[in-house]
Symmetry: C2
Subunit: 357 residues, 2 copies
Amino acid sequence: MNRIDLLKKKAFEEKGFDGFLIANEANMLYFAGFPGASCLLFPRDGENMLYVYGVNYEQAKAEGKGFHVELVKRDENLMAKVAAKALDFGIKKLAFDTLTVENYRSLAKSLRGKAKLKPMGKLVWELRKVKDSGEIELMRKAGELVCEGMKAAYETVKPGVREYEVAAEIEYAMRRKGSWGTAFDTIVASGARSAFPHGGCTDREIREGDLVVVDIGACYRYYRSDMTRTLVAGKPSEKQKKLYEVVKTAQQKAVQAVKAKAKAKDIDTVARKIIEEAGHGVNFVHGLGHGIGLEVHEPPALSQQSKDKLAAGNVVTIEPGIYIVGFGGIRIEDTVLVREQGSEKFTDGFYTLEAST
Amino acid sequence: MNRIDLLKKKAFEEKGFDGFLIANEANMLYFAGFPGASCLLFPRDGENMLYVYGVNYEQAKAEGKGFHVELVKRDENLMAKVAAKALDFGIKKLAFDTLTVENYRSLAKSLRGKAKLKPMGKLVWELRKVKDSGEIELMRKAGELVCEGMKAAYETVKPGVREYEVAAEIEYAMRRKGSWGTAFDTIVASGARSAFPHGGCTDREIREGDLVVVDIGACYRYYRSDMTRTLVAGKPSEKQKKLYEVVKTAQQKAVQAVKAKAKAKDIDTVARKIIEEAGHGVNFVHGLGHGIGLEVHEPPALSQQSKDKLAAGNVVTIEPGIYIVGFGGIRIEDTVLVREQGSEKFTDGFYTLEAST
């Protein structure tokens, strides 16, 4: 069964809807295999619609297989056009993934009370969360590509090099091996800024003894990977080494705990306990990880607040960290496929504080 | 007057609101100078609030100057927390920039009818549309950086090279000169796919005689540039040269027409007429350009539907194109600062179909 039919089964047969509007960009890519649609409308009775402006019309016709491709003119109100078609289809109960307040109001107004509207984005996430074999193949490749970037980081980090120069080598290495771009803005955060989990990448010159957090992702045919390593420019101190071992152990044990049917919260607990026992619970300021796929942050969440249960086909990150203001930060992260028994690491290697230079 | 005070003047003094909620990511960056906040609340009477989760709390305290930085716990409802504070502040009429339906509902529920809510994102755009001297400096730099990328493209494109290999050299050149990353996903669309304005960048091997559309952007301290050139791998044909001259003339004439107080629609018309007179009006399938800044697509729009008037300090793209399915596409684009008299090009050079190789 294809993705659209699976969504229809969930939404129409199980939940009683008779139409589904997809307006989120990544969701459109997921169902249409094509970036650049303006929205998709799946009716219970009728042809699946792909709405697109002129700029992407020819591409939609070439790449958006299985849809009626509808051209939207620049002076048309897209939501009014969709509403008219929904009423044509006889839709009475229209689910949608996500809408801005303005679009919601415009759509509701044009439906004139003849169809009910309800946000049901979670049904799409139920599908997207479980990667199929084709997606797994692409994500494995995205994992291989990001490891090439990490190799370049280990070869480049040393005192006197600027953060963006490290990023240049990382991204170049990934691209030359076939990456479609970065999965998110490359982080090379050195010195004091390594204590900020999202420390970015600036023109700061890396100094002897700095911790350098390298958090990077590759992209392959729209699918993403996410990997973090922390290294030291020059010779690591005893304190850096000690904290590094805590994070490394926490990360390894958490990865070992990953398997289908495990509670996401419990995986977080495995890592958190190890860091707490080392006296740094307060310095682990984020959840253990997140799902990843077409977007870099997806369900399921791995955290103390998570109610998610892992399932075979989930792809998640495992990324404990210790962040100490004034000292710096250490994070180790891999992208991992959840299997019935255990897991498969899409990223691997470079579990060391020492650069290769 | 700083940005927040300017917004308050517009929203509170001129429009009668007494609170403004900022939830859009780029808007938060604009007002807080820091990426990673969850939302901002500006009251008429009281301290400006910056809400942030633990993962970015320390960075917010270090970088989010002039705010009361409020830690949001993972199990708290952010919208409920904001609503409670808004009521504390005595806010009765709360403007916001943009919210999802879910967040809007959650916020409205928690306000319990004691404060009115209204989307006023356009007030923020009125500010962001007009770049100040600091922003102009950063965007000029982003323009210089993207020209370095284009130079690499002209040196790399030739038969036998893959699209992503060209992207690798472009991005590497920009990064090494100090780019903070790409402004958007690099487009290197060759052959038949050059006829798609958003043709992406794949592993396709470029062939002799292919048109290659290179649409790229650099990023400098969060500000973006956008530049397109089209070249031919090998020797251009007579038809390619003829169409290229049409697009080039349309682009040059449109750039020459840019100045403060010009109607955006009229600038579009300058380019469109030239392409229409060459018999290709139907192949110019998008508007002439768009504003650019923290985001790659911002107001004002330059198109036949636009009601915008240009103002000094706007930064816009001028990017006419001709797209012929089966033949290919040609687009030439520069990023341009609108001045009282005329304009300043942030991107320039490489107005030729011939690669440098």
